[in-house]
Amino acid sequence: MKSFSKFISFMIILVLLLGLAAGCSSEKTAEGEDGEITLRVAWWGSQDRHDKTKKVIKLFEEKNPNIKITPEFTGWDGYWEKLATAAAGKNLADVIQMDYRYLMEYVDRGLIEDLNSFVDSGALNLDDVGEAYIEGGYVDDKLYAVNLGTNALAMAYDPAMFKKAGVEPFKPGYTWEEYAEAAKKLKDQFGDGVYGVEGAKNSLGNFQYYLRQHDIELYNEEGTALGYEDDKLLVEFLNYWDELLKDGVAAPPDVTAAVQGRLEEELIVHEKAPTLWFNSNQIVALQGAAGRELKLALLPSLPEGKEGLYLKPSQFFSVSKESKHKEAAAKFIDFITNDLEANEILAAERGVPIAAKVRDNLKPQVDDAAREMFDYVELAEQHSSPIYPPEPSGAGELDALFTRLAEQLNFGEFTTEEMAKTFRSEANKILAKNK
């Protein structure tokens, strides 16, 4: 009993000390002396991005000695939760990294600032930026978000594995059938433990691509319901992947579940699959993780169909409405957009830079993976149709719903028809809230 009570008092002291330490370490965020401004900048990303961005922040501080920047960074997981909590507490960072999917949620609620006045005043210089690169950030002619890099849906492939299996790299215009045939051939070549497809890629983004090939958008114009009337297309799309899964060409769900969205764990990194569907800017990080040459190809096309691809702002910087230093925030965004040295450090990790001079300066000096991305975005531009309007509120929930239902399908708890029906009713329930 004695040792027990001793132990308890020891624990209490420990807890109190820890509490004390936590209390002391809170940082000072208020304005410093002699007019020094403190700017908070928040972003999500990989370790690679954190390192590069922090270096650029240092460079910015050197060139602007009266501005101090406090970085706030996390991975994609948890970023939006953190941001929403900060918004509820009226404590958003001055500059926040924004995603196309969440843009409308923040615009609708008046949480981010229209930057047009800073463009007019010259604090934010967009003279060198082409229309196609910046248009995604406008809502009703107001500039709410500045694109940090352009990317597009893409397929990474391993040229060595293709060569070994005697499969030609995909040429623009190849069809869904040709893709499936190639996948089967690759699977036959490598046998057990290696797959022709890294998993049944029935994610909402890929289905959206398929819909666009049929000239249909995922949402209706008001964002209050799905944009397609007939479940036939979704059933077709799901059947395509379901067959590959049942034939053992696509990796089974318990294998793909272990990846959990971490690029380093993707099957292609470990030579267990020859392809990966993702966003083109991720090639830089993917090649780094794999440590060997990977290339980019277009996604399969639909004969007689429309171009489903689109150039997408990979991410934006926005300025929060309650920021006290909007001018400085605009200046920081201008720096990221136009400064040559800063972009040499960033090395197009967020996607192809939007300013023409920056692109021209960067292209000859980037590494192979980034050059592959530059070339791919140029290729994708020729095979693109204009991007869909910013997604309505609830798009994130819809995405999670689709992923969850697809998982049930892949584990065999659903037929494709059942999944299409369930998705429609649940999705419309979520979107109906926007009425």
């Binding site: 027990f4 929403a84 509820a88 609620r109 769900p253 272990a258 999670a400 998982e407």
Partner: protein
């Protein structure tokens, strides 16, 4: 400061009210001493609870101000949300399996450590460590490694010629791996059992041994009955924390695969923070509070039938 001025005014008041005043002052001093806790309790527990009760009747997305919807959240939950029922099923399964296992295991280990042997203090500390690091990210990562496709567990199994699988990504086994993790964190009930075991008078065992009682019947006729107050305490505490389990599922399986580890608290978090439905999440929190309250009350009610208090003459 306050006491000085009150001493000055004290002189004028009558004896009777002086006594009253003194009592009141005493209370005030007591409250002053617990004020750090009191402030925390009001500010961080009662305040948020009232706020969440209000929010549970609203539609609140955290970004814009809440709008009153009456009982809508509660109605949706019970009539139109199958995942709510899934999460309840998962949580109940988890609590009803993990708590008895954990208590049995904790008691077993406590029995091993109750006798003074060499180095027993060290063992006690070592076995307590899992409970300290329990909710941490490091343990979650380790668990993923252990139970993954190429993890240590499968390594051991393959030694016996059994082909393993990715236990954490398997709909059939994911919940079990989390139960094992929680049972492994038996440290705090173990310590409490240990304290309880040491309170049992050794004369009882000596007398029983003289009468020829076996170790087995000693355990069931002496140890267990004498330990029932401690078992009762541990049962209540572990059940409550079982219902609130969050970290293990959130970090290791993220509720998946196929919602098989979708604990109530994980679903609540998903609704509130991932999909910005804070009103709905608040309503869920109140339902959980009611569930826990009901189960705690049931255990308390049943305690008179099985908990033995020596001080009450065996009542």
């Amino acid at each position: 400061m306050q006491s000085e001025t009150s001493v000055l005014t004290d002189k004028k008041v009558t004896k009777r009210s002086k006594a009253l005043h003194k009592g009141w002052k005493k209370e005030l001093i007591a409250y002053a001493f617990i004020s750090p806790w009191l402030l925390g309790f009001l500010g961080f527990i009662i305040g948020p609870m009232i706020a969440s009760l209000y929010l549970s009747f609203t539609d609140y997305d955290m970004l814009s101000s809440p709008s009153w919807v009456g009982l809508q959240n509660y109605i949706t939950m019970f009539t139109d949300d199958s995942r709510f029922w899934t999460s309840l099923k998962v949580t109940f399964t988890f609590v009803f399996i993990s708590v008895p296992f954990k208590l049995a295991f904790a008691l077993f280990v406590a029995m091993l450590f109750v006798k003074a042997r060499r180095g027993v203090g060290l063992y006690r500390s070592v076995y307590y460590i899992p409970s300290i690091v329990g909710g941490s990210v490091a343990v979650a990562v380790m668990w993923k490694q252990l139970f993954g496709r190429e993890g240590a567990i499968n390594g051991i199994l393959s030694y016996f010629g059994i082909e393993g699988q990715n236990w954490i990504a398997s709909p059939d086994y994911a919940l079990s791996t989390l139960i094992i993790l929680v049972v492994w964190q038996f440290g705090s009930p173990m310590l409490i059992f240990l304290a309880g075991l040491k309170q049992i008078p050794t004369e009882l065992y000596e007398a029983a041994a003289v009468d020829g009682a076996s170790k087995f019947s000693q355990f069931f006729k002496i140890t267990i009955p004498m330990l029932t107050p401690v078992i009762f305490f541990n049962l209540v505490m572990q059940m409550i924390s079982g219902f609130m389990t969050f970290t293990q599922s959130f970090l290791i399986t993220a509720g998946g695969p196929l919602d098989r580890t979708l604990f109530y608290a994980v679903y609540l978090y998903e609704k509130g923070f991932t999909h910005f439905q804070m009103g709905y999440a608040s309503a869920m929190a109140w339902i959980l509070l009611i569930i826990v309250a009901v189960f705690t009350a049931l255990i308390f009610k049943s305690s008179s039938a099985w908990v033995y208090y020596e001080s009450e003459g065996g009542k």
